[in-house]
Amino acid sequence: MAATTTPAFPKVRVAFGNLTLAQVNANSRAGTVIVPGSAGRTIKVVDAWFRALGGNAGGATAVVLEDTAGTDIVSTTVGPLTQNALVRAGAANSTATGVGTYSGKDKGLRIGCTVGDLTTCSGGIDYCVLYTISN
């Protein structure tokens, strides 16, 4: 297997937007793809944040950013996801295990939830994910 080639000065890309509750809960809580995989490329997330809109997040155990193979990158428990509060990866109750680690080749990024469906935050979840791409 060829090693991942890291560019000397990688560009940082940003995926941002809002996911509805239905999108977070979709696909048996695997959620919705926010960055599609690209053949031959690997993604490394370098930072992320979430924000619940329309109410405090509830129902689920955590909102999770993971690669499209299901490997966790950031897992933020619903406790700190109070309405309009910006919760950064690595803050209290936000485990950033996969930040700074290359995801598998060809994999994209998705946002879902764990254990139960996400409820209560009627405006869904704002997300902002910073990442680099390598060949």
Binding site: K11, V12, R13, V14, A15, F16, G17, N18, V35, P36, G37, S38, R41, W49, R51, N84, A85, L86, R88, D126, C128, L130, Y131, I133
Partner: protein
């Protein structure tokens, strides 16, 4: 499938108190371009900021982040979304063609001689929007 996420752009500069009080254009507006601020931080230098209400990252109508003076303590990095840093309009696309600027809200800012400003933003075109 191509990756469609835009490149992240960064503005960083140490602004003087006079620049903050007068309003400083960090990213000039351009026809057809739409800016979206996705993150920001500031840091007061030379003393804590006082007398003003907040230091805002704005395009003149949409305030992406309002950094309240209570959080502008000397040498302390104040991030968007932290206590005293209201970030309601992070991720909100600004009006096409408008600039991103930093300006005080309320009375003129005092005591701090400078403010470090870091703004992370994305650019999109009107056609793509």
């Amino acid at each position: 499938m191509a990756l469609k996420s835009p490149q992240l752009r960064t503005f960083y500069k140490q602004l003087t108190r006079a620049e903050v009080n007068a309003g400083y254009i960090c990213v000039p507006g351009a026809p057809g371009r739409i800016y979206t601020v996705v993150d920001a931080w500031v840091r007061a230098i030379g003393g804590a900021a006082d007398t003003t209400t907040s230091v805002d990252v704005t395009n003149g109508s949409t305030v992406a982040v309002a950094f309240g003076v209570a959080g502008l303590v000397e040498n302390a990095v104040l991030r968007a979304g932290a206590a005293n840093a209201v970030a309601t309009n992070l991720l909100a696309a600004m009006t096409q063609g408008t600039a991103i600027k930093v300006i005080k809200a309320g009375a003129a800012m005092g005591t701090a001689t400078h403010v470090d400003v870091c703004i992370e933003y994305a650019v999109s075109s009107a056609q793509a929007a």
